[in-house]
Amino acid sequence: MNTLIAIAVLGVIVLLAEIFNLRKAIIPVTLAGLIATLGLTVTEFGVTESHYNNMIKVNNFTVAFSSLFIVLTIFLIALSADFYQERASKISDFVSIKLFLLAGSVSMVSFGNLAMFFLGIEVLSIALYILAGSDRLNVKSNEAGMKYFLMGSFASGIILFGIALVYGAVGSFDMDMIYEASNSATTVDWFYIGVSMITVGMLFKIATVPFHFWAPDVYEGAPTLTTATMSTLAKVTAMATFFKLNMAMNGNMKFEYELVIVIVSIASMTVGNIMALRQNNIKRMLAFSGISHAGFMVMALLNLQNATGSLFYYTAAYGLAGIAAFTVVIYVCKGKDNENIENFNGLGKRNPLMAGILTASLLSMAGIPIFSGFFAKFFLLNQVLNAGWLVLVIAGVINSMIAVYYYFKVVSAMYTKEATEEPAKVPFEFYIVAVLAIGLNIAIGLFPSALMDLF
């Protein structure tokens, strides 16, 4: 609870700083504030309480995921100073929007009431619409914002409809009530229709097939930092929320529902990976890769009782690798009019450290051991097999090998092609963010228990 307040206050402070002409201080203050908030959040670990009439519930799940979101946001905001250099006058807007986005994320994982959930998801989404279209003069950014907005609000409508149906069936927005209703035999069919519609809405938010079409276009068009936000923070948030929703609403999941999840998972992995093969724009490629990761993540739903740790681990691994990768992408594609893989040619010689970090993060996404991405996949597959879905394990395995191809396409471009231009100077904070992110990624790879045993 305190987390949410702290973040919101921080957002307001940032806006106020603009008024008092303290632009330079914005990012340091925000970072300090976020780190403090992170500390605050972590201290809440182990506490289970609810606030405001059960609107907000704090437990280990909430704390863990909130901490992850805050960490990701710290990285994203650290990158902002350089990224928004040319529009420094609006830095407070960008930072505060990100902070509110974070607030939305936190409320999404700590909701105890569907109203809170709805508010959270809308805060997150609207912030993203703005960020996606924030490069006003860029046609691509416009298009991305429009596409995301249209489809996102459509999905919001669907979710809202679902919420209404659930409310109609249960007579309350409170998650405890809903949980009871989901376990009772007398619940009317609307309830399940409502649940399904919420599910569809969430599947859209995490970009799974067939609700994934927006992702590549929006990722490509949006400013790269926004893409980074979408692909890490937003996706992870949506996934965590989806998982929590299912825990509450699908106490005894039907086989058919599981089957839908399985099919969506397989389809997402396959489509995401296969489509990524032919991409030349790295942001699009990462978008499709994100789709396939979404396919992996929804596997967690098949083992709701045990998979929390695995899901958290997966999201952390994926988020950190994504941050590291996007840091390098932002650095490399700065000042370029596209994000094609050719821009990465010769990076291994131009800037070995950045190349190494991108390599490591791509390897992590590809699921090569010692990087946490491998453990993440392994833990999830383990849970899935525990739940008895051998077919999904095999599909996951096959997809992992397809994925290697496009990740390694970038890697080999960095190391075998000749560079076409002089290396640009890397801003100091980029190094820190990239090294920290990939370092954390490897660290949780070496000590998976640190995250796995939280739940």
Binding site: N382, K409, Y415, T416
Partner: protein, 477 residues
């Protein structure tokens, strides 16, 4: 002192090499690889005195993963193969001038680190991690420092990577399945599992895919020749000398004890496949124009025979396979190095562009000749001991196997002598061929000395590996 020391040493070595700078990287790498050899010999000494040098600690609680390294005779033999070859491989690079040498040698040491981990791990998950980990360095070594057209190389290397990765993923799936049954990845527990015939069948197949690609057996070998050709010679040595053995070792350590009944059921098919590889590899090798490719196919033939020995699943087969793994490791490293020595002087790997070298450098010619003879398993070389034992074991299974496998001694002589004739003999070549340098000479002499010594006195190695093979056979029977 336990085996972790070895891993730590090599890891530190890799890091130190990376930070040492390009100028002295090769020497630092050599220092650490020799140190690793020393440590492994010390460990061998401790082991033979009966000290327990294994290591085990809880790593991940959920799922239950132990960081367990078990050193039995078989593992130690394979570790020694790795630590003995690594200094030679590093030394063989002294004649090359690599860009970014620090990265290169760091990767080499890292690869040795990963391979040693693979040989030692007695927890399936840890084993898998090391197994995969060893792929990364070789990918970069081949990709960045390889030769030939960059696009073709990229294609070959990525194919290699995805192919082997694909195979191992199925192994991972099998491990996960076993974990669901056993609640642990520990070798002792997994091999004690009571699996139904169907389960064994699928687990066997999953493992088989991983190993058949790694070893490689036909028809899963198509990555091999191209990668061997395109990788820098040091990479090829690592691949052919040690990495192939990972697959063969794993057959013994994991596949057979885990799914013995399935292995028995499929035994004839797989031995057939392996032996087909022997014949096929030899025949394809006959008409290769590229020296490294020829050696690659010869390797295919030899490992086919080793694999056949593994799947013969009796004492002689397993023991012979291990002996032959070690022998082949040394001889193939030597042969690839010979190819490299020629390349350094003539800048060609095409056999028809060589010839007439013998007159110019009788020393090199003699050493090359001995290696060729060892690779065709002339009695007196270590390779003969292995090949004889394997063929004998095959003959006790089925005489036809021994006959088919035995064709290697004919066909092997055919392509190797043919290669030697055209590469080394004939009218004196007009191009100067500088005599072998000291560092080159050391590599050759060490390899040849090893092969000849253990060819006559293989007893220490046989005694080292026998108890652990007996233990494996207990689970297989």
């Amino acid at each position: 002192m336990d085996v972790t020391l070895l891993l730590i040493l090599l890891f530190i070595g890799a890091v130190a090499t990376y930070f040492s700078g390009n100028a002295i990287a090769s020497k630092v790498a050599l220092f650490f690889s020799v140190a690793a050899l020393g440590v492994s010999l010390a460990l061998l000494n401790q082991f033979s005195q009966g000290t327990d040098i294994s290591f085990s600690a809880q790593w991940i609680k959920n799922p239950n993963v132990l960081f367990a390294l078990k050193a039995d005779g078989l593992s130690i033999a394979m570790v020694l193969l790795t630590t003995a070859l690594t200094p030679l491989i590093v030394l063989s690079g002294f004649g090359n001038n690599f860009n970014n040498a620090k990265n290169f040698y760091a990767l080499v040491l890292f690869m040795a680190f990963a391979m040693i981990g693979t040989f030692l791990a007695s927890d399936g998950f840890v084993y898998y991690i090391f197994w995969e980990l060893s792929l990364i360095p070789i990918y970069f070594i081949a990709l960045i420092w390889g030769n030939g057209d960059a696009e073709a190389r990229k294609k070959a290397v990525i194919k290699f990577f995805i192919y082997t990765f694909a195979g191992s993923l199925f192994m991972l799936a099998a491990f996960i399945y076993l974990y669901q049954k056993a609640g642990t990845f520990k070798w002792d527990v997994l091999v004690g599992l009571d699996l139904s015939a169907t389960e064994q069948f699928w687990i066997f197949l999953a493992f088989f895919l991983a190993y058949a690609i790694k070893i490689p057996l036909i028809p899963f070998h198509t990555w091999q020749a191209n990668v061997y050709q395109k990788a820098p010679t040091i990479g090829t040595m690592l691949l052919s000398g040690i990495m192939l053995k990972m697959g063969l070792y794993s057959v013994l350590r994991w596949q057979l004890p885990l799914a013995p009944n399935a292995a028995k059921e499929l035994q004839y098919i797989i031995i057939g496949l392996a032996l087909a590889g022997v014949v096929y590899g030899s025949i394809v090798a006959l008409k290769q124009k590229d020296l490294k490719k020829l050696l690659a196919y010869s390797s295919l033939a030899h490992v086919g025979l080793i694999a056949a020995g593994c799947y013969a699943m009796n004492m002689d087969g397993l023991r012979g396979a291990v002996l032959q793994m070690i022998a082949h490791g040394f001889v193939i490293v030597g042969l690839f190095f010979a190819a490299e020595v020629i390349y350094r002087r003539y800048e060609t790997r095409t056999i028809s562009e060589m010839g007439g070298i013998r007159q110019q450098t009788p020393k090199f010619a003699s050493m090359f000749m001995i290696l060729v003879l060892a690779s065709v398993a002339l009695p007196g070389t270590f390779n003969f001991v292995g090949e004889f034992t394997v063929l004998y074991s095959l003959s006790t299974e089925n005489m036809v196997f021994a006959v088919i496998g035995g064709t290697t001694i004919i066909l092997g002589a055919f392509y190797m002598l043919r290669m030697f004739q055209h590469a080394m003999l004939g009218e004196t070549n007009a191009k100067m061929f500088a005599d072998v340098t000291v560092s080159e000479g050391i590599v050759f002499v060490a390899i040849i000395g090893f092969l000849l010594f253990f060819g006559l006195y293989p007893k220490p190695i046989i005694e080292l590996i026998t108890p652990s093979i007996q233990e494996i056979l207990v689970h297989v029977k």
